[in-house]
């Protein structure tokens, strides 16, 4: 329609018009902000160093504040109804502050690997946490795309129940066909029953894929020449069930992996905080030395 006809008279129910910022623009803006902050801090630390002041105090406290801000994300998530900027804004800030914190750590330790065992443990845990953050960022960007490709959308809590119902359905279908054909019954006993009965291994959880499903589908298609038309319908149902089960497993693995990552990331954060507190106490205790 034309621009003319788009205009509507008054008394219109106002919908929810949302401001939209292009993701790329947002990314660039946030990176520039984080980079500028780091640059300013570097200049200040260089000034402190030139003034014969230990810059580690400033960088340490700034780093601690940044880690505190990074930790505050989980608190913000719990307070969804407060107008403290949307959680997505906090996540963006979390990502960029996370990158910046790695550079801050380098500034704090003077671009050298620390020499004390405790400091080494602290730095290693920090880097592990940062690495986990990077992996999590990759996961949160890739996993939705992987899941969206599936023809099935399912909530994590429903997977177990749907899988149970699918198992029962397959069992029923194969039992009904067993009177007329032993081929499918044998195939079920040897191939599909173990597939439906077992959980996937660790490797599948780490890198879920469709190789097993494709193998079963190929084997099932090879039985085609032994089957009558009605038995082929049963085989088709079996193939559909295999595909659905595979999709459910994929959902469980990908969604579960995300949940596990978040749990590990938060656990490491609190472990890091325990070490940071000890570090601060030690630093202040031995300040004179």
């Amino acid at each position: 329609m034309t621009a003319l006809s788009r205009r509507s008279p008054g008394n219109q129910i106002s919908g929810n018009r949302i401001p939209v910022i292009h993701f790329r623009t947002r990314r660039v803006r946030n990176a520039v902000l984080a980079g500028s902050a780091l640059l300013l801090l570097s200049v200040w630390l260089a000034y402190e160093s030139a003034s014969l002041t230990n810059p580690a105090w400033t960088s340490g406290w700034v780093l601690g504040s940044v880690i505190l801000f990074l930790t505050a994300l989980s608190a913000r998530k719990r307070l969804a109804c407060l107008p403290l900027f949307p959680v997505s804004t906090w996540v963006q800030a979390h990502i960029h502050a996370g990158w910046a914190s790695v550079v801050l750590l380098a500034l704090h330790v003077g671009w050298h690997w620390p020499n004390g065992v405790f400091e080494q443990t602290l730095a290693a845990l920090f880097l592990l946490l940062a690495g986990s953050g990077i992996w999590g960022l990759w996961l949160t960007r890739q996993s939705p795309k992987q899941l969206a490709k599936l023809p099935l959308e399912v909530r994590y809590e429903e997977i177990r129940d749907r899988r149970r119902r699918l198992d029962e359905h397959v069992h029923r279908v194969v039992l009904q066909s067993a009177e007329s054909t032993g081929v499918l019954a044998d195939f079920h006993l040897e191939v599909t029953a173990p597939f439906f009965g077992r959980s996937r291994g660790l490797s599948y959880w780490l890198w879920p894929g469709s190789a097993t499903r494709r193998r079963i589908e190929t084997e099932l298609s090879l039985l085609d020449r032994y089957l009558t038309d009605s038995q082929r319908q049963v085989a088709k149902q079996l193939a559909l069930a295999v595909r659905e089960r595979d999709d459910l497993d994929f959902h469980q693995a990908v969604q579960g992996r995300l949940k596990l990552w978040l749990f590990a990331h938060i656990a490491m954060t609190y472990s890091l905080w325990a070490l940071i507190v000890i570090h601060v106490i030690l630093v202040h205790a031995f300040r004179g030395a």
Partner: protein, 596 residues
């Protein structure tokens, strides 16, 4: 009135199925009131033989109307409120306010706003019991200006001083008002105040609809009222007609015809029709303008939605949907006005659900509208533009489909590939605040559901399920429809639209748990829940021993400091509450994220 038990067995009470008039509009209406009404205009002149046996005129008056008396200064209807009834003045006079009045003057209090502290407490200390209510019901909120049960009324002091002589229009005995909002489910456009003691006949929309259907004189009278009152305002409010002279507006208003298409209760058949094949479904939609026919006038959509489509081989391809305020046919009329080569309609316009349109005849458009538009700075649309638009929209459908993900939902299989087509088929175009999730970014963390639960007494108002198209999930959460059919038939007025925000809310103390709204919602977005006290004990009706149920749905976190919680809680910008009544809004949202 509850249905009387006929007989009972050990296991069940057998009742007569409730009929249309089981719940009369006015419980105090008597046969003598009806006789009195039948003796006055317009009912006196109505041909009773035109009314079907099941819906006789006498029955209509007895069950679908009520007589109310108002005192001087009392507000009868309030601008912005949703009304489901029209009024006929039996005696006395009323003033119609021609200018908007401040909400405070109208007795409208903005709903209780939750404080930050309360919001904080509700987030961190979710109650153990879901759907917990106080065992003693709290005071009802005033949802209308007049509460018949409690006798609560709102009065205006010094109406002449408030409105002035030129700010009000006085109506007298025999005149109608409020019919437009009642019939089109739109907000009241003006406040009406009793000028002195007056007696009014209030007719609920179901009765008014039947009266109009069976009495052509009343129908033309109501149309004439609309023509003389609201139509000119409507034309004046239409931005591209703002430069017209008063004479032109008068001429256009006099020549405009009113047309209604589709069923007013479209939601009853919606889910049944969805099971039909797309082609059959389109064939059942009433045609407002057919491709290939002579363009006999400019069509303005007054309320509802219409499908804009072109013939594509043996079927129809949806180009767009048009809602309230949109115009159809300008391109063809401009072309025919400028050229000797006359063309027919290039597209078809079909009613989706119930649509009210205004048709301005072609000669009137050519005489009064086109010259004015040609003088304005706005460039008039050309036929080439129209054809380009049809072609580009046709191909856009293919371009926006990004993946071969078949939807698990019935009714959107083969042949429905375009997003517009999908929105139309699922009637999602009705949404002013649809919840849309971009599955390409959603990690399925359910933070949205948790946030909803934490702001709504530990029970989320939606589940993350819904129809999927082009990797977008249209979640089954209240969409706060432009045409909120859920409001039809609520016996207590518990469900209503907030005049300020446009959000549809349920006033919990007023809800009697009848389930009418839940049954009316064609999208199944209202849930009836059993209620408990703070200790977790179920609340049970003392008369029936049945659980006390309440209607619940998304309230868009109305009254909370930051709304909506679901959108605010999404860590990955995957979820948005978006207006789908304007097709470009979703395109705009997607265009800025999917190229990232």
């Amino acid at each position: 009135m509850a249905p009387e038990p006929v007989r009972s067995t050990n296991n069940a009470v057998i009742q007569r199925r409730p009929q249309r008039w089981s719940e009369p509009f006015g419980v105090r209406m008597t046969a003598s009131d009806v006789e009195r009404l039948l003796a006055i205009a317009p009912f006196r002149s109505m041909d009773r033989g035109r009314f079907p046996k099941l819906v006789p005129l006498r029955g209509l008056l007895l069950n679908d109307t009520r007589v109310s008396r108002y005192e001087e200064g009392e507000i009868i209807i309030r601008e912005g409120d949703y009304g489901h009834s029209a009024f006929l003045i039996l005696s006395g006079e009323v003033d119609v306010s021609l200018r908007g009045l401040p909400p405070r003057v109208l007795g409208r209090t903005s709903g209780r706003q939750q404080s930050w502290w309360d919001a904080f407490l509700s987030s961190v200390g979710a109650p153990r019991v879901r759907e917990a209510r106080d065992a003693t019901p709290t005071e009802r909120e005033t949802v209308t200006v007049r509460d018949e049960e409690r006798g609560a009324r709102v009065f205006l002091q010094d109406v002449p001083g408030l409105l002035g002589d030129d700010g009000r229009l006085t109506l007298g005995a025999g005149e109608f008002f409020g019919e437009l909002a009642a019939l089109s489910r739109t907000p009241r456009t003006a406040t009406v105040i009793a000028k002195g003691p007056c007696e009014l006949l209030e007719i609920r929309w179901q009765g008014l609809r039947d009266l109009l259907r069976h009495d052509p004189a009343l129908r033309s009278h109501i149309h004439e009222l609309y023509r003389s009152n609201a139509l000119r305002v409507h034309l004046r409010e239409t931005a591209w007609l703002k430069d017209l002279s008063d004479e032109a507006v008068r001429q256009i208003a006099d020549a405009t015809t009113f047309e209604s298409y589709g069923e007013f209760d479209w939601h009853h058949d919606f889910n049944k029709e969805r099971s039909l094949d797309v082609r059959d479904r389109i064939a059942t939609e009433p045609v407002i303008a057919r491709e290939g026919d002579y363009p006999d006038g400019l069509i303005l959509i007054r309320s509802g939605f219409a499908r804009l489509s072109v013939q594509y081989d043996d079927g129809h391809r949806t180009l767009e949907y048009l809602g309230k305020g949109r115009v159809f046919g300008l391109e063809e009329l401009v072309h025919n006005h400028r050229s000797v080569d006359q063309i027919p309609w290039q597209r078809s316009l079909r009613a989706l659900g119930y649509v009210d349109v205004l048709r301005v005849p072609t000669p009137v458009v050519e005489r009064w509208i086109l010259p004015s538009l040609e003088r304005s700075t706005e460039r008039l649309p050309s036929l080439d533009q129209l054809r380009l638009s049809i072609e580009s929209r046709g191909s856009r459908g293919e371009a926006t489909v990004r993946g071969p993900r078949p939807s698990p939902w019935s009714g959107d299989g083969e042949g429905v590939s375009d997003r517009t087509e999908f929105l139309v088929e699922h009637r999602l175009l009705n949404a002013t605040r649809a919840m849309v999730i971009d599955l390409d970014r959603c990690t399925r963390c359910d933070d949205c559901v948790r946030a909803c639960a934490s702001t709504h007494g530990n029970n989320p108002r939606f589940n993350r399920v819904g129809p999927i198209h082009d990797r977008l999930m249209f979640v089954q959460a209240c969409m706060h429809c432009q045409d909120p059919v859920c409001m039809i038939g609520c016996p207590t007025g518990a469900i209503g639209r907030d005049a300020d925000s446009g959000v549809i809310t349920i006033n919990d103390p007023s809800c009697i748990g009848c389930g009418t709204c839940a049954n009316s919602c064609p999208y199944h977005n209202i849930t009836m829940v059993e209620t408990f006290d703070r200790q977790g004990r179920p609340l049970v009706d003392d008369a029936t021993s049945q659980p006390i149920v309440k209607a619940t749905k998304c309230d868009f976190c109305h009254g909370r400091p930051s709304a909506p919680a679901c959108q605010n809680a999404c860590p990955h910008d995957a979820l948005v509450r978006i207006d789908l009544t304007e097709p470009t809004e979703l395109d705009r949202w997607l265009s800025k994220r999917r190229t990232a």
